[in-house]
Each structure stands twice: as structure tokens, then as C-alpha cells.
Amino acid sequence: MSHEAARLRLKTWICAAVVVLSNVFGNFFLKKGMPADLPTPWSYVTVLFHPLVTLGVVLLILWMMSRMALLSWADLSYVLPVTSIGYALVALVGWLFLAERIPAKRWAGIVLIVAGVALVSLGTAPRTHKPEAGQ
């Protein structure tokens, strides 16, 4: 692997980790803070000022920024499968920290996701298109 390819891969993995963690915890707090229903259009706005929802939204803004940075050099068809490791992570976080039981079906799903992520992240380069001029 050339020096340039190694640099790009390390940078990609660090940025992907930020993308995944901010998404996992952003959605977690968002779901925790959401009330049972939103009766009026105005309540869609006021719910944003519920502390847990606000924290979730801040993390999701970080998610969007880091994802945009990642997409400035990495392919969409690379970013999509690789960042979906978050789905497996959510289940593992529940198992490790919330003592949730993971049924066999869910373990099978986690194994499939990890296998898919490994295939794409280890088997293909983050960028297959020619970098364009800019910056």
C-alpha cells in the first residue's frame, strides 16, 4: 500500500468512527427525549428544546458535519455500508451497558453487518473516482 493510500485509509477510519459514534448516541438521546405524540405542528418545534432532544440534535449536527467531511474524499458506496456498523453497535451497547438480552436472530444480524462492513472497508479503497480540483 502506498503512503498516500495508507494516509487516506487512516483518515477515513478516524472520520468514520466520529460519524458512527455521533449517530448512535444522537439517535439514542433523541428517542429517549421524544414524547409519545406530537399533536400540533407547533409541538414539532417546541420539542427541539427538550434537553435530551437538544443533546440528540447537537450530536446529529456533529454527525452531519463529520459525514460531509468524510464524503469530501470517500465514495458514497463506501461510506454507506461502513458507517452502518452503528446498527450493530447500538445492539452491543444495549447488551453491555443496559443488560439487554440479545436473541439469536439479532446476533446473526450483528454478524452479517460486521461481515459486510469488513468486506467493504478492508477489501476496497475509500475512493475510486479521480479527486477533483478544489480547496
Partner: protein
């Protein structure tokens, strides 16, 4: 009503993410992660038509998703919205001209099956 929300979420997410990828590629690789440089990059991106379009589409998707979560279980919402993976990978190949080799198709397929199994 549930399926209306799902259709809006899937369409808006797909359009938004493909536009985001197109806009960011047009901007070029971000090298400098110091706050001042990131601020300048953001200022530039706020004039990037693809990025503006993607933010609008994702805002639509976000509020439709909030609406979906109020009437549907998370374990239903998550696997259904994984449909966007298929649509976006196809658009990445034909619109963004990425080389989607068999490893990426296989990886994306494994992930979709895995997401369905984890959340169903």
C-alpha cells in the same frame, strides 16, 4: 399514514444523501481540520447548490422521521428505511460514477440483511 411517512423519509433521504455526496466531491477533499479552516469550508459549502439542496431534503426527511417514530416502533422504522441503501448504491454507480465492484455490492447486501435481522 405510516406508509406516506415512509415514502417521504426514503425519497428525501436518498435525494439528500446523493446530493450531499455530489456537493462534497465538487468541494474537494477537506485537509485542514482546525476550527478556523472548518469555518471557511462551511462558508464555502453554504454557497454550494448541491449542499443547500441536500440540507433541505434532509430536513424534510428528519421531520417525516420524527412523525414516523410517533406512530411506528423503532424496530419497524429502522429496517424499512434501510431501503435507501439499495437506492443510494444504485445512484452512486450511475449518477456519481463510482466503481461499485462486487465486494461493495456484497458488503451492502450483507448490511441490509443484517439491519433487517437486528431490528425486526
Amino acid at each position: 399514514m405510516k406508509w406516506v411517512y415512509i415514502a417521504i423519509v426514503v425519497a428525501a433521504t436518498t435525494v439528500g444523501e446523493v446530493m450531499q455526496a455530489a456537493g462534497m466531491r465538487r468541494n474537494g477533499e477537506i485537509h485542514d481540520f482546525r476550527p478556523s479552516a472548518l469555518g471557511r469550508a462551511l462558508a464555502m459549502l453554504s454557497r454550494n447548490i448541491f449542499v443547500i439542496g441536500s440540507v433541505v431534503a434532509m430536513a424534510v426527511s428528519f421531520f417525516a422521521y420524527l412523525g414516523l417514530l410517533t406512530i411506528a416502533e423503532l424496530s419497524f422504522a429502522v429496517p424499512v428505511t434501510a431501503i435507501t441503501y439499495v437506492l443510494e448504491t444504485i445512484l452512486a454507480k450511475y449518477i456519481l460514477k463510482e466503481h461499485v465492484n462486487w465486494l461493495r455490492w456484497a458488503g451492502a447486501s450483507l448490511v441490509i440483511c443484517g439491519v433487517a435481522l437486528v431490528s425486526l
